[in-house]
Each structure stands twice: as structure tokens, then as C-alpha cells.
Symmetry: C2
Subunit: 145 residues, 2 copies
Amino acid sequence: MKTNDALKLDNQLCFPLYAASREIIKLYHVPLSRLGLTYTQYITMMVLWEEKHINVKELGKRLFLDSGTLTPLLKSLENQGYITRTRSSEDERVLVVELTAQGKKLKSKASNIPYEVGACVNLSPEEAGELYRLLYLLLNNISDT
Amino acid sequence: MKTNDALKLDNQLCFPLYAASREIIKLYHVPLSRLGLTYTQYITMMVLWEEKHINVKELGKRLFLDSGTLTPLLKSLENQGYITRTRSSEDERVLVVELTAQGKKLKSKASNIPYEVGACVNLSPEEAGELYRLLYLLLNNISDT
DNA sequence: TACAATTTAATTGTAACCAATCAAATGATT
DNA sequence: AATCATTTGATTGGTTACAATTAAATTGTA
């Protein structure tokens, strides 16, 4: 690559990552709005559908988000009746997040969303798999830094 | 994949895309803060370093952003003295964005940033190239929708 | 020419994001 | 026990992001 070209938008790896991320998240807008969820709230619920209960720190590690983002988001999910926020009795610093019955029920309402969105993305299984592999390679790579 | 697994975070293609995008953008924070730029302001300047002048609509197409994001961002770049915002005389609806002398000079100050950030990303050239290809495949694919 | 439709940015309102800081609880050291 | 350091979430402040709407200019058409 010519020295001067390093600042060209088309030569950045970060830019298509950033743009594709936002464009895909937009695809979630319509199906998620039917549930009253944002994308970030949705992936938070995903973790809870797997974990049943988790504290803010662990949740942040899973989602690569900090309390500055999670605290208001979790309060919103609490207001919507999907989760409870409780201080741990063993360690009052730790806030434990748990699903309510309504939060558990939401999972079945969301079950078709991955397929709905997936239908808009016409990558072959091989391409999707390779993209998945490279994204996690990158993600793990950066986390070490 | 088992039917129930479609809602697992680890089975989403979107999530590592979203997370990796944010993690990489964070790498830009330190070098960009030396210039007083955010990441979005930086990629906007990149387009201008290539194009010299461009209107908001075309800029939005390049960056996959709309006027709701760009209007305040461009006002900020204008306040910092890097660009001018002028209505086109042929069509008063169109706002033309151009670099100031200071905006042009900023390019040389930014010239090392791609290398600084690239040094934190240890993908092989082959992996980076393949990731780049797949991301644009995905991006073009979604844009058609 | 009228005037409806379209185009272009700007605005509004909501929700992320995150750097930086703070406050409270806990742990470690003496 | 007293004090310092660490951990955990919450808060603050500034900047995106984007859906939805608005306002103004332009274009198309009767």
C-alpha cells in the first residue's frame, strides 16, 4: 500500500466493521420494536435467558459493556418488568440481575428473531462461519491488549 | 444448530461484529484524543481528505450515517475550525462541506494513526484481507435490502 | 403559472456508549 | 482495630446513533 493511502477510508478494516455492525443492528429494529426492546437490551436478555442470574461485572464482561451503559439499561429492563436488580447479601457491592417470570416468557416471543434477521443476510454458511471465526479472533486479540 | 440455541449469544453473528467494532474504535481513542477528534469525526475527515468537498447526502452514503448524526458532528468540526459548511448556490437545499487550511494540515498529524492502531491488531495479512472482504460482502448485501 | 410530489438538511426525542469520577463495601497490611 | 488499597456499581458529561418529523427548496406536471 502506498504510504499516503493508509488514511483512505477504503483501506481501513475498522470502517466496514463499524458500518456493517450498525447496518445489521438496524435489521433488528422492526422485530425488536414489537417486543419493546432495543438491540442492547435484547443481547442483555439473551445472556439472562442462558444464565438465569448474573452480576453487573460478569454481564459487562460478556457484552463488552461497562456500568455506565449497563446501569441505566438494567433499570429500564427492570421498569419494563423483565428483570429484578438485587444487592448480594454476601457482598453488598455486587448487584445481581435475575429474570422475572415475564422476562422468561419473553424468550419464546423472541425465538423467531434470529431467523427473521438471518433471512436478510445472504452469506453462505461457509462465509458466515469464516466471518464468525475472524471476528472472534479479532475480539480475543484486542481484549488481550 | 438445535432450535433452542438460536437465541444463544455465542451463536449470533451480529454480536461479535458489534463488540469487535466497539473494541477497535476504543483503540483509536488515545491517538485521536491527541487531535481532539472522535472516531466518527475522524472518518468524516478521512472522506474530506480524499474528496476536498462533499455534500451531506453523499457523505452520509459514504459513512452510512444520516443528517441526524452528521449535522451536529459537522457543526462541531466547523467549530473546531477544520471544515466550512456552505449552502450550494445552485441548490439551496444542499450543504457543501469543505476543508479549511487547518483541516488539510490535520491529515499529516493523523498519518501515523492507522499504523498505531494496526499494531494492536495481530491478524495476519491474509486473515485481515479475508475479514475485509467478508465485511464488505455483508455490507453490500444488507444495503441492497 | 399553480401546486403536488420529491429532495435535502435540520430538528426532536430516546437510548446508547464511554471516559472520568465518585461512593460504598470489602480486603489486606500493619 | 486502624488505615490504605481494591473492587463494584452508580453518576456525570459529552458525543454519537437513529427513527420520526419538519421546513425549505426544487422538480414535475396538469
